[in-house]
Amino acid sequence: MTTRLSPALIAVAALVYIFLVGPLIIVIGASLSDTTYLTFPPQGLSLRWFEKIFEITAFRRTIVTSLQLAFLATGLALLIGIPAAYALNRYRIQLPSWLSTVFVLPILVPEIVLGFSLLKSVAVGASFPIFLSLLIGHTLLVLPYCVRVISASLASFDFSIEEAAISLGSPPAKTFFTIVLPNVRAGVVAAFILAFITSINDVSTSLFLTGPGVSTLPIQILAHVEQFFDPTIASVSVLLMFLTVAVMAIVERTLGLTFLAK
């Protein structure tokens, strides 16, 4: 038996899809336009604005910087976040509520404030190199997501499983990698994806930390828009979108599939 859906429900669902997918279609369409100005629907079809991206040195450079930054910041945040989440859950550390909000604080505080305070303390105060300042900023930005998501995953993990492994002769450190980690892989993958997207799309924090010679792709897009109004902007946005999706797909395939199969 199939359930009959009411036409109104179908209409609402369709509207939601249009609302979600519409902007993406417009951006993709605009990026393919043959005109020298941004327009939709595209007039003529051309890939020349995608070629243009790679002719502009600033774009080439910032794509690399953004990818490096996203991978490094996510990696660092996982290196810090996994042990932190493990310790919080394993030893059932009951943080006072004000202290546990510390872990969401970077999410609650406007990123622009995080950027500004880092500018004062790290970039200017300690006069760290620009890339290092950006890396610190992005790591701080994505760390709360990592701790939260992996914590949620560990909260449903039964630690007597870990004790069972230890009682059977597996040393604690080894047990963490062979028993605990494989069982919270879903959380780690989710944390990676969330952190990576947050980092690669970040504008507010990066705005304060970029400087002469070193910038990220979203900041470069912003700078470009201020001067030019050609479809490069659309094509570079599409590129950023596909880069993100590609990384997600690779992560899912290498880490996530075995989990999804269960």
Partner: protein, 355 residues
Amino acid sequence: MTQALDINDLTAHYGSTKVLEDLSLSVGASELVSLLGASGCGKTTTLRLIAGFLEPTEGTIRLGGRDLTRLPAHKRDIGLVFQNYALFPHLTVLENVAFGLKQRGVASGERDKRARAMLDRVGLSVLAERLPGALSGGQKQRVALARALVIEPPLLMFDEPLSNLDAKLRVDMRVEIRQLQRANGTTSVYVTHDQEEAFSISDRVAIMNAGRIMQFDTPEVLYQRPTNAFVARFVGFENLIPLRTVARDGEMVTVEAAGGAQLTLSQERFGPIPDAFTLATRPDGLAVTPEAGADGLPATLGLRTYLGRAYQYQCETAAGHLVANGALSAPLEPGGTARLVPVPDQCCVLAGTEL
């Protein structure tokens, strides 16, 4: 390879709270000993101390000739069966069972052979390639048992292993556990809060309360001859009557209860009677008789309930509320008066009058 477990003066703290005090316990080779008590009595703490997941503040734990007290948990060589099975969700049943052998460096061919043989013994060889998620509770606990036994540990410990199973399966599983334990002759410690389970499965039982062992003996002795009020109450001696000796005449001792009622007890039949003691009985150990002249405690009968083999009366006496059983042939009316007479072989004389 059976070894005896010796625990000496073990004291443990959680933070500044003392959860175990001077606990000593000896488990003989091939013996199965249960730790029985309500939650919070220290039984699980004791098990975790033996397993090495907690460190004692004082005392020693020895297994065979080895001192385990400061040995890390993964070097203790103890088989553990948990309440919630604790199977590795990402490994197959066979891999679960083979895990301990792998840690011991057993070659993969040999490992498989031994794991399969052990699965065969618990009747699960057909499920070897499944993941634990696909098993029922009883099957999971069998896998957990196989996983703990396959490493041939000198000591096997169970932490409420049957609590998550339904009643029927619980009874079947405990017989199975006992048979496997007997066949292997593995020294075992079994933690449970279920009296029937502990008594039916164990060679000896330690009844625990507030971090101490109250009495440690065979189930038969515990059930019939408790030595203190806590154990007496725990095994169902509902009536605890504080008494004081007022006169002795050879074997016969006259005692007085609160409120002034007197009884004459024979030491030949009740055992040695001290000057101040508590008489403990189950409801069956107090006979209800309507005769006013009988040598018993005067009581006012309250609610009468039908047990099938007897009537049970809620009785009010000067010595407090008591529960007694009376014969089916002579039902008594609630509200009337009667005398409660202690039945010698169903009473225990406990030293002291503190309840």
